[in-house]
């Protein structure tokens, strides 16, 4: 009998494809508006703005060192799925601007749309045993080794990112970015519950 509490290959594939596509669409909106966000993607966006490079290759490169940590901490399946999701997002973020464009976009509405798109993308990836990489895993390692709480490490990382963002983009855009990041985190905080979505 097939265990209903396990995703099969096709289910995971469509979940990861959904997550990468929605996340890439979110990045198109974010970079169209010149906004930033938190975590690994936020670091990649900031580097992309500061250097003029594209988000896709930067995001892909930043994530490379984290796969070793991911393999040690989270196992082969998680690492492989995360690699696929990151590679897909990186590729799609290069391809998408040729597929869709905005004539005009209200930044506040754009930030909320980015929040919903990325929030549901991350939720789908988490529920299918993947992630979009990096910083979260380091935070977990630091908690194990040094006893620093992972949640606080992630928050501190985002505080630094947003502080640096003030030097790279306008203050108004940093504040709008904060709304987007808040929506992402609320979507995950409310909805990522193993007691409700019971499958792995």
């Amino acid at each position: 009998m097939i265990d209903p509490a396990k995703h099969n290959l096709i289910e995971d594939a469509q979940g990861i494809a959904y997550g990468a596509t929605m996340a890439a669409f979110g990045i198109v909106i974010l970079t169209h508006l010149g906004l930033v966000t938190g975590q690994t993607a936020g670091l990649a966006v900031l580097i992309a703005y500061a250097t003029g490079w594209s988000f896709g290759p930067v995001f892909f490169a930043i994530n490379i060192p984290f796969y070793v940590l991911a393999y040690v901490r989270m196992g082969a399946a998680f690492t492989m799925k995360t690699f696929l999701a990151v590679a897909l997002l990186s590729g799609l973020s290069l391809w998408l601007p040729g597929q869709i464009s905005f004539a005009a976009l209200n930044p506040w509405v754009g930030a909320i749309l980015f929040g919903f798109l990325s929030g549901s993308a991350l939720l789908a990836l988490f529920r299918h045993g993947a992630s979009l990489g990096g910083i979260g895993i380091v935070a977990l390692m630091l908690q194990d080794r040094l006893g620093w709480r992972a949640g606080w490490v992630q928050l501190a990382f985002d505080v630094v990112l947003f502080a640096v963002a003030f030097a790279v983009i306008e203050a108004r855009l940093v504040i709008i970015s904060f709304v987007g990041a808040l929506v992402v985190n609320l979507v995950i905080a409310i909805n990522h519950r193993r007691d409700r979505y019971v499958v792995t």
Binding site: P4, F102, L105, G119, S120, R196, V198
Partner: protein, 200 residues
């Protein structure tokens, strides 16, 4: 202790707000591309094409008779949540073009994006006890009265809607619309499982 398998008011409010926003964004893409689709929304899109009346008003009017049927069949709670989601969707579809002005889009990607957005919107709405619809309530009633299978009736009604659409939209637009509808149906078919997302 709180029962993890029951959504609180905040859970439902954010789930329905997410669903409405994603559906409105999907609808905005659909209208921008001149696509058609199936189900209640598809019927409203067809009537919009034929009458020239604004989609939000047509859609809301189309859902009203089904709402009455839903009240009688599925109870006041379901009917009120559906009224809330359909009214909110009508409003959002009317407002979103003010803030989001879409530019050039590749039709194949626009169709896939529409399918994913409608899929995730419907999934969120169903998991939080709402619906964008109506037509399916009619088919459930038909099954109870006559024994005619609701699933078959649903499929037949979509065949009729797409058949009528073939008379008014160009063939390539129809083909892209079909791609979007296929992504939407497949997404729901794979992911809507009460044995996996257990909360109500």
């Amino acid at each position: 202790m709180t029962d993890p398998t029951r959504h609180g008011p905040l859970d439902d409010a954010q789930g329905l707000a997410f669903g409405v926003t994603m559906a409105a964004f999907g609808m905005h893409i659909l209208a921008h591309m001149g696509f058609v689709t199936g189900q209640t929304v598809g019927l409203a899109v067809l009537l919009t094409h034929v009458t020239g009346l604004p989609f939000p008003a047509v859609y809301f009017a189309v859902t009203l008779p089904f709402l009455a049927l839903g009240w009688y069949r599925l109870g006041a709670r379901f009917a009120l949540k559906t009224l809330f989601t359909t009214a909110a969707l009508s409003l959002m579809v009317a407002l979103l073009p003010r803030w989001v002005d879409l530019g050039r889009m590749e039709p194949a990607f626009a169709a896939i994006l529409f399918g994913l957005m409608f899929g995730i919107a419907a999934l969120a709405a169903i998991r939080h006890g709402g619906s964008f619809g109506g037509l399916s309530i009619l088919w459930i009633e038909l099954q109870d009265r006559t024994g005619f299978r609701a699933g078959t009736a649903q499929l037949l009604s979509d065949v009729v809607i797409f058949g009528l659409a073939a008379l008014i939209v160009p063939l390539d637009t129809l083909a892209y619309s079909f791609l979007g509808a296929a992504v939407f149906s497949l997404f729901l078919a794979i992911n809507h499982r009460r044995d996996r997302y257990v909360a109500v």
